[in-house]
């Protein structure tokens, strides 16, 4: 099984410019472990000191926010595309 992770521009200086990564993670925990191993500098930018996903980091699987899919318990499917997106866009109201 393989999934693809898209790295946003803001984080690519921690991935030597790599914009997309393929891995075989089956859930979010495994995905973070795989990214930690491949890009050790990335780790503190994705999770805080207590290991929680940073408040302003949104994770999408294909078109859907992973929180609507079960969050950490979601089992990745073969071919899933994972997007890491900062929580910055939005209305002014």
């Amino acid at each position: 099984m393989a999934i693809t992770v898209q790295i946003p521009t803001a984080l690519r200086r921690h991935t030597a410019g790599v914009a997309s990564v393929a891995c075989a993670a089956t859930n979010l925990g495994e995905l973070f472990s795989a990214l930690d191993e491949k890009f050790p500098e990335l780790k503190p930018h994705l999770r805080d000191e207590s290991g929680q996903v940073r408040r302003f980091l949104n994770i999408y699987v294909n078109e859907e926010d992973i929180r609507f899919l079960g969050g950490p318990s979601y089992a990745f499917q073969d071919g899933d595309e994972v997007l890491l997106v900062p929580s910055i866009a939005g209305g002014a109201q």
Partner: protein, 449 residues
């Protein structure tokens, strides 16, 4: 290529809201260290000096200096992140703030009607120029910076009002505009964007999905996305609502403010405005309670406040209040904090309540607001009934958009009666059969005629 290294000697710059790292001035909205949002910080000593003109009574001098300026949002220029030598091209803002006694009587009920009538105010951005919503304020600041950064194309994700504002301001400034919207947006808001020559891209998805797409596009293209890479500058424009409320109340702060919430930014920026005026000595320090208003069908912030949470649990929006339909609000965390720390609260209202509240505001005060305004009025009524807002407290309701843009939600509410011929006898017959009550004095005249 945009000029990202401009204005090194400004009295403002970007700073991370969480880790505090400073980023100068550039089109950037997140901190690369901790992924948190950036905000603008200012050199308040410089602002105090410039506004006070070195006078002994700095407060009076500052107030007089501001009040001598034209009646628009640019009168607070020192408190906005504007480029040096900036010359406004549009007179945005300084919308009316006025007492709303008839609405107060309806909202507060018999017990406190008289007191509420004297203390309830409406800040009416339904008549903000040029596109009839408060979004003109934020876009005005964002596009000032877009030009400074060298962009020739600006863009946004929008639920409608922002689309209108970006398109209109871009036309005025000679910039190209790309507007990304959910495909099911109200027709009036789409037309009100296309008319300015903007390119409108309709997305089959929710506003949150449009937002996510725009974040990705902003990563790839050198466009000035007002609510992505220009967001810290853009959101500062919201402060002018707060500045104006204080000045129009006679340089004093209200006891309560009721603010509609989508992404949660406006309520935090009104708080920042009040804090800045206090810091500069332009108003006396006093506690202000902040009350957030949402539609029940998209209420992630009010739900968090009511359940005592500090974080947002995202929702899938299902409400007619589309301008507030953001299920994953970017500033939700900060909105919750502002509300709780002030001793305020957050409420939400159903879609039928939104429609009823639009009608109540129109029938009592002559203001036709869009759905977001209905949400604000409906929630204010609940807050009065819950005694969270007391009649004797000075309370300001923020009406942020115009009802002419969302007439579709009123479809079927009013029926057109059968027309009559232009004859007096037919009008008398019409009166006799009318379901409308005829005023007593007029009825006597009608009968004797």
């Amino acid at each position: 290529m945009p000029n990202h290294d401009s204005h090194c000697h400004c009295h403002y710059e970007l700073r991370c809201r969480e880790c505090g790292r400073r980023w100068g001035n550039q089109p950037r909205s997140i901190c690369e260290e901790c992924f948190s949002p950036l905000e603008i910080i200012y050199d308040y000593d410089w602002i105090r000096y410039v506004l006070g003109e070195g006078a002994i009574d700095q407060r009076q001098a500052s107030r007089e200096r501001i009040s001598r300026r034209p009646a628009n949002m640019w009168r607070y220029a020192e408190l906005l992140p504007l480029p040096e030598q900036f010359e406004p091209r549009l007179p945005v803002g300084f919308t009316p703030l006025f007492n709303a006694p008839n609405l107060a009587t309806r909202l507060a009920g018999n017990g406190g009607a008289a007191s509420a009538a004297a203390n309830l105010y409406i800040k009416n951005d339904a008549v903000c120029l040029p596109t009839l919503s408060f979004k003109d304020r934020v876009v005005a600041v964002a596009l000032a910076q877009a030009r400074e950064f060298g962009y020739d194309t600006v863009a946004c994700s929008s639920t409608g009002n922002l689309a209108n504002a970006v398109a209109a301001h871009a036309a005025r400034l000679g910039l190209k505009a790309w507007i990304f919207i959910p495909a099911d947006l109200e027709p009036a808001k789409i037309l009100g964007t296309q008319i300015f020559g903007a390119t409108v891209v309709r997305i089959n998805g929710s506003y949150d999905q449009v937002n996510r797409l725009c974040s990705q596009i902003a990563d790839e293209r050198h466009w000035g996305f007002v609510n992505v890479n220009l967001r810290p500058y853009y959101s500062e424009g919201s402060k002018t609502v707060g500045f104006e409320i204080a000045e129009q109340l006679g340089w004093r702060l209200p006891d309560n403010v009721v603010v509609p919430m989508a992404g949660g930014s406006l309520i935090t920026k009104i708080k920042k405005a009040f804090d800045e005026l206090t810091k500069l000595g332009l108003v006396d320090e006093k506690p202000v309670k902040f009350f957030g208003a949402q539609a029940t069908g998209c209420s992630p912030i009010s739900t968090a406040v009511k359940t005592g949470c500090t974080e947002i649990d995202p929702q899938k929006p299902a409400t007619i209040a589309r301008s507030l339909a953001i299920g994953n609000p970017a500033d939700g965390h900060y909105a919750i904090k502002a509300i709780k720390q002030s001793g305020g609260w957050s409420e939400d209202v159903s879609d039928p309540e939104v429609v009823d509240s639009i009608r109540v505001l129109a029938e009592t005060e002559g203001i036709f607001t869009e759905t977001a305004g209905g949400v604000t009025v409906g929630c204010a009524g609940k807050l009065y009934r819950q005694d969270r807002i007391l009649p004797e407290e000075t309370t300001v309701l923020c009406i942020t958009g115009n009802g002419l843009k969302t007439t579709d939600v009123l479809a079927g509410v009013y029926e057109l009666e059968k027309p009559i011929t232009p004859k007096l006898a037919e009008f008398e017959s019409y009166l006799r059969h009318s379901v409308q009550p005829v005023p007593a004095g007029d009825e006597a005249v009608a009968v004797s005629a």
